[in-house]
Point group: C2
Chain length 348, copies 2
């Protein structure tokens, strides 16, 4: 059985969930034909830990927040990302730090260092993919490694890989998505009679929305995801700034009620479409969808993408768009893709 050595960059919710699955369910991976061994972890809070023979995950997962890897063999109080990414004996670097929507740093550098040192990268981090996806994919190809990022759009719900692996032979004309669970939840609660502020507060209480919900409500989270879909599925070559973006902050209870009265539902829609002249237009905006639209029935915090194709018309996939375990699954699906590549079963 193949063993892949992993370096976990960031040890927050998602990478901890992955570590728990590796600790608790070796069988899941053995059934896939490989074993996963974590040989390095870096984190702003814990510092760095490199143990080439494999880190005892039960031990590090039990460490309380506020403690440090310092004192453990191979441990340091500092998050020595560059050194660990370049020099640890990892085959796959698992990037799950935070997303900067401005320049994608520090994740862009993490990914670049890993790819340039011949390591595969799997990530759930939107920033590097939305801002530097093409450059990083080129670096991956020229180093003979994979750069996989299924989780950057809808956490574990397959979108990019679905388009590539099971919609082959179709011409994809457009993708439309509900790509932010918080704003979809808020719009649903407004349909139930809450005001915008009240619905946002409820979403925050339930843990859907961040303390600062601006990126969710204002559409900038969706903008990054639309840029990824436009580039990945329609070859648009665009920057997130090219995506004209309007959030749901100006949707009123009256707008919601008026739409319901004519059988429509407001949704925050991210869309990329190939126009007749071949150019790709990408936009984020609230749309009052008629009941028959494939995205009109997507309720609560669920996310969905509808692909408009030439032979099938609309094909839609929906599922979770967030959650630590759900997002960790995206990393597993990326590692499966790395494994297929490594075993020569997939053409580069």
């Amino acid at each position: 059985m193949t063993t892949y050595n992993l370096a976990l960059i960031g040890f927050g919710g998602v990478n901890r969930a992955l570590a728990e699955l590796i600790r608790d369910e070796p069988r899941r991976f053995a059934d896939l034909g490989f074993e996963l061994r974590v040989v390095a972890i870096t984190d702003l809070a814990f510092g760095s830990l490199v143990q080439g023979e494999g880190i005892d995950l039960a031990a590090v997962l039990a460490m309380p927040r506020g403690s440090s890897f310092e004192g453990l063999p191979g441990g340091s109080t500092e998050a020595r990302n560059e050194d660990v990414i370049k020099n640890s004996p990892a085959d796959i670097v698992v990037e799950a730090t935070f997303t900067s929507p401005i320049d994608g740093e520090p994740a862009v550098s993490h990914v670049r260092w890993a790819l340039e040192s011949g390591k595969h990268v799997v990530t759930t981090n939107k920033g590097p993919v939305a801002l530097k996806g093409q450059e990083l994919s080129t670096i991956a190809a020229s180093n003979g490694v994979r750069f996989e990022y299924e989780g950057a759009v809808m956490s574990g719900t397959p979108v990019i890989r679905l388009a590539h692996k099971v919609l082959g032979g179709l011409e994809l004309r457009a993708v439309q998505g509900i790509l932010n669970g918080t704003s979809n939840y808020v719009l649903g609660r407004m349909e139930a009679g809450l005001g915008l502020e009240q619905a946002i507060a409820e979403a925050q209480e339930l843990g859907y929305a961040e303390a600062d919900p601006t990126a969710d409500i204002g559409g900038s989270d969706v903008r990054l995801k639309v840029a990824i879909l436009a580039n990945e599925l329609l070859g648009a070559g665009i920057h997130p700034n090219d995506v004209e973006t309007t959030g749901i902050q100006d949707i009123t209870s009256q707008d919601v009620a008026d739409a319901l009265a004519r059988g429509c539902r407001w949704k925050l829609i991210g869309e990329a479409r190939r126009d007749a002249d071949g150019t790709v237009t990408a936009v984020v905006q609230p749309v009052a969808l008629p009941a028959g639209h494939p995205l009109a029935g997507i309720s609560g915090a669920t996310n969905a993408v509808s692909f408009t194709t030439d032979l099938l018309g609309a094909v839609t996939v929906s599922g979770p768009g967030a959650g630590r375990v759900e997002t960790a699954y995206a990393l597993i699906s990326d590692i499966i893709a790395v494994d297929e590549f490594a075993k020569g079963a997939v053409r580069a």
Copy 2:
């Protein structure tokens, strides 16, 4: 570029749509890395035609209904299926005759002859898959060829391949689907106030329902599809007769109105579920789904399958479940799978 020789068994709507795509869009297939050449066609109405150098599709597609292949080089007035399947120079047999829900014949024999003579089979025909799927897959494996049948469940909307190719590493606990567009359309029209008979008549006018809508309304169409999903995705090893089946014939306008009043929608649900003891239960029945259910929002003639998984919860795919071009796409997706197998990119 690889050329695949095809034998089309049945020359009705679906195989004609495939032939039109081959005639009109060689570029679509060239982009996939292969060329398709039809070397044989059999059909109850037209008879048989075998031309090893490739049939002129424009010419045969222009032949009016009621004419015969007799008189053409390699032509015969009789549908010589066994001889053509066994002895024509086809690499891939495209089975698109009719489905017998009792014994799957004559399609089962068509598929068996093809596989035993070392030819790949792609089919949209539910019968052989639901009734003899495991036996036929075993014959395919022992002859080193593929038996592919994505279109047997939701026409071109990917279900089987989606589960196998993009949900890897998940434990699949259940599949639930809206697998019959006619009954879903009828239930939707009953929500709009029509009676059952009236809604069925409308579906017939629109071409959704057959002249005899019994298989759609009574659930036996869904039963075959549920058996396929239970066997293919949950390893159930069941016969369609093992699927307890109730149709929508006894759903009244009052039932529909009562459900709507409490925020629910009646749907004809086909379901296969792995129970705690490992056995798989499969059932077809009308269910009043609450608004938040992933299948509650599936409207009109659209089909959908919701996969219940351990790490992601529910992931749902929806799209067309019928249509000649949509179903022909399922055959293309199957041919892509054959090509991947033939090129050694996929493990058997």
